[in-house]
């Protein structure tokens, strides 16, 4: 009975250690008893009362499951006799086979399969490290070649989703003041990109840059700012983000990262469902904040606006952070959240050499800007 396979191997005739085995020829599902012995060059399979003999070289062997130390039996096949199988019960055989054909052990197999990926992961890590050391960012490179139209469209969608539920401030004189300030700052940039600023009727103190050289500033920020110079400083900072294409870069980076994660998780990351989440969690790194600060200082200098407005605003933020825990904002692109420590930044502004400057706006212009939310319209869809 085939179901009564002896569980132990037994030394057969003539002193040579032979193991009991079941041999299937791969042509039909029948199997027959065989003997198997370790030879120098491979496994020798012989049959009682038959001259048939197979020699399976160790290098041609395949085990149905990787051989482990405590394996109780082994199922083998060999490219020498396609489709044929050899089932050898008994722990002794498995252990001895592992000695002759170490490639069949679980450890060897795993190492063989994992090695290319380990090397690949290390190479990837090295590549990323080298790239970031050399200042190369694929996301930024892509952002640079993104068509103007897409960037604008992307930015509008971002504005709509982020200011959802808030009206737009449209008082004509206030808007004119903001436009004048924007133009004055934009003069100093090399790319001559026209910037568009949307003022949102939102009491939260915030400002953010979105793709396509667009900026959102909140009523809360303008109200809490002490002077037009402060607003100019914040505006210059956000324009700095825009000039360096930070919003575009971070969106591309988020999408790329999500795609890579999806790939690594074998597609079960459920990115489709998390896409909104991925897009919402875009933030800037500290280094891009620093870059934006530097751009801001250049813009302010070119526009002959004092950099101290930016410094004053940082101080104000620090004070607010200290006194008002409830003001904790929950939105992405938050000016307060991912930025470098405010003290550090105030210090940087303070170190700027003095240059002749005029106020960002005259008194009338500043008053008009403060009143910009006198008239509002609901955001266009």
């Amino acid at each position: 009975m085939p179901s009564d396979i002896p569980k132990t191997s037994s030394p057969l005739t003539s002193g040579q250690h032979k193991h009991f085995a079941r041999f299937g020829d791969g042509k039909s599902a029948a199997a027959r008893d065989a003997s198997v012995a370790f030879q120098l060059s491979g496994l020798e399979i012989t049959f009682d009362r038959s001259s048939e003999r197979h020699l399976w070289p160790y290098g041609t062997l395949k085990a149905a499951e990787p051989i482990r130390n405590h394996a109780v039996d082994v199922l083998l096949s060999s490219s020498e006799t396609p489709n044929a199988t050899l089932f050898v019960p008994g722990t002794g055989f498995a252990r001895e086979l592992a000695g002759h054909a170490s490639a069949l052990t679980a450890r060897a197999e795993r190492w063989r399969h994992a090695r290319p990926w380990l090397i690949g992961s290390l190479a990837l890590a090295a590549l990323i490290a080298a790239g970031s050391a050399a200042g190369f960012s694929p996301a930024r490179a892509l952002a640079t070649v993104m068509p103007e139209k897409w960037r604008t469209k992307l930015g509008q969608a971002a504005i709509n989703s982020m200011t959802e539920g808030h009206k737009r401030c449209t008082d004509p004189t206030g808007v004119a003041a903001m436009e004048m300030l924007t133009r004055r700052l934009a003069e100093g940039q090399t790319r001559k990109e026209p910037f568009r600023v949307v003022i949102s009727d939102w009491s939260l103190m915030n400002a953010f840059a979105v793709p396509g050289s667009q900026i959102v500033m909140t009523k809360g920020l303008i109200e809490k700012a002490g002077s037009a110079d402060e607003v100019a400083g914040v505006l210059a900072h956000e324009m700095g983000h825009g000039i360096r294409l930070h919003p575009e870069t971070s969106i591309i980076r988020a999408v790329g990262m999500a795609a890579a994660l999806e790939f690594m998780m074998g597609g079960s990351g459920g990115t489709l469902a998390n896409l909104g989440l991925a897009l919402a969690q875009i933030g800037y790194t500290r280094s891009s904040e620093h870059e934006a600060d530097i751009e801001a200082l250049n813009l302010l200098k070119a526009a002959k606006i004092s950099p101290h407005g930016l410094g004053d605003f940082f101080k104000r933020v620090a004070e607010l952070e200290g006194e008002d825990n409830a003001q904790k904002s929950m939105k992405p692109f938050d000016l307060l959240r991912t930025h470098p420590p405010t003290a550090e930044r105030s210090e940087m502004v303070r170190k700027q050499p003095d240059y002749p400057s005029t106020p960002a706006l005259d008194d009338a212009g500043w008053q008009a800007l403060k009143d910009v939310c006198k008239t509002t319209v609901s955001a266009e869809k």
Binding site: G26, A30, R32, A64, N83, R110, W150, A157, S161, P341
Partner: protein
């Protein structure tokens, strides 16, 4: 050709057993998860393959093991193709739609994507099954699935889509003719009535796939009809419908009570969160309501699995009983109680794995000090960093990996130790079948996370 040593009489009884000898694949799950982490997830295809090789090998027919001859590389290539041909385009399309048309369009896009995936689901399942069959050997004779995946996929789709769409249509027309509230009730009733298609559908699909199965050159045949399934289904259906009704009522109560649906139950009209007060007590009640809703539906799913366990056991036994190979018939000894316990215990294992991973991750975060401490102002001033996320993810991947491998082992053991084949089989006359030349692994099915065992 009775060679020396061959069994003279080739008509043999078949004895299926599951012999794991104390190895419950916990160690393997651990090793695989570790390798998965350090290879950025890519080892998972090889890890999955090694698990299958072990599980197949534990399964013995007349004392000799089944053999799984698939490779990690095949699964990997299958996935790569699906990733670049289906997933990436869908994903990038979604990103573009959200970016250009806003969130409203995203919902529509997602719906379309899910519909596409659902249309492909049956096809993908068939292909996955075909791959596994072609990679399963016993005594060197491999299995195969010789039918057309598209035919199966299409049947899979329309047998579910048609009754529900039809029911929805009828309800819609009735609602338009009378009143919307009548329509709402009718839709519920129509959906419940639509559920009556399920036993017939399962039986049809099972017949399609079983009749396509070959072991060597010999085919399996399925002769079951759906009728005997319905008696047990009555209880499962009634129980599920009652449960659904209770869960829906409880959800609506929570919605009303929490103010989530302040402006009456305007179906399809989500509350405008931006207009709601964002003070702490309000947020707390909102969080509470969301937890309550999640709890209600998780409980509903668990209870539904419990209620339907008897039916599902009955259905599986029915499938086995009407599947024959040559003169022999399969027999499965699944019972409602044992199946229920299998489902519940596997959930517990999965939950323990997840919770264990989270706790471990938290401990690691604490120990390494990688938790971004809340600064003075309340708003974290630190750089958003991936490090804490990674440190948290690793123990979670590790523990859930161990848990899922163990659960997979338990499911396989359950079925294989209860499956019997009654009657003699002429093994000499089961000859090697044709090689179908399937070169790549499961592709889409992996993405949907469908696994027979």
């Amino acid at each position: 050709m009775p060679d020396a040593g061959a069994t003279a009489n080739s008509d043999q009884p078949i004895n299926i057993t599951f012999e794991n000898r104390g190895d419950r694949l916990i160690g393997l799950g651990f090793v695989n998860a570790c390798l998965k982490i350090i290879t950025l997830g890519l080892y998972s295809f090889w890890g999955k393959t090694e698990v299958r090789r072990r599980l197949w090998s534990f399964t013995r027919i007349n004392g000799e093991p089944l053999e799984y001859t698939g490779t990690g590389k095949e699964l990997f290539l299958g996935f790569v193709i699906v990733f670049f041909a289906v997933l990436l385009p869908v994903f990038l399309g979604g990103a573009a739609v959200i970016a250009l048309f806003g969130k409203q369009a995203a919902g529509l896009y997602q719906l379309a994507a899910y519909l596409l995936f659902f249309m492909l689901l049956g096809n993908a399942m068939y292909r996955a099954q075909r791959y596994r069959m072609s990679r399963t050997r016993w005594r060197g004779i491999h299995g195969s699935l010789v039918g057309n995946p598209q035919r199966y996929g299409w049947t899979y789709f329309w047998t579910l889509a048609a009754p529900f769409l039809g029911a929805a249509l009828v309800a819609g027309i009735a609602a338009a003719a009378t009143a919307p509230t009548v329509g709402g009730v009718l839709v519920m009733l129509a959906l419940m009535a639509g559920l009556w298609v399920l036993p017939w559908r399962a039986n049809t699909l099972q017949g399609m796939i079983t009749n396509d199965m070959r072991f060597g050159d010999s085919s399996l045949t399925y002769s079951g009809s759906a009728r005997p399934l319905y008696r047990r289904y009555l209880f499962a259906w009634g129980g599920s419908a009652f449960l659904l009704l209770m869960a829906a009522t409880a959800s609506i109560l929570v919605l009303i009570h929490s103010g989530l649906a302040k402006s009456a139950i305007d179906l399809g009209q989500l509350p405008d969160f931006s207009k709601m007060p964002k003070d702490a007590p309000y947020l707390r009640s909102l969080a509470l309501a969301i937890f309550a809703l999640a709890g209600i539906w998780i409980l509903t799913l668990i209870l539904a699995a419990v209620i339907t366990a008897w039916y599902r056991a009955n259905q599986m036994n029915h499938f086995a009983k009407h599947t024959s190979f040559q003169e022999a018939r399969f027999r499965l000894d699944a019972t409602g109680r044992s199946l229920m316990w299998l489902a519940i215990s596997n959930w517990l294992i999965a939950a323990l794995g997840l919770i264990g991973g989270l706790v471990l991750g938290f401990v690691v975060l604490q120990y390494t000090g990688a938790i971004p401490d809340l600064p003075e102002g309340g708003a974290p001033a630190k750089d958003p960093s991936v490090l804490p996320v990674l440190l948290m993810a690793m123990p979670v991947i590790l523990m859930t990996g161990v848990a899922s491998t163990f659960a997979q082992f338990r499911s396989t053991r359950y079925f294989m130790s209860r499956l019997k084949l009654d009657g003699p089989v002429d093994l000499d006359n089961v000859l090697q079948g044709q090689n179908q030349g399937i070169r790549r692994g499961e592709g889409l099915a992996q993405v949907f996370d469908i696994d027979a065992f």
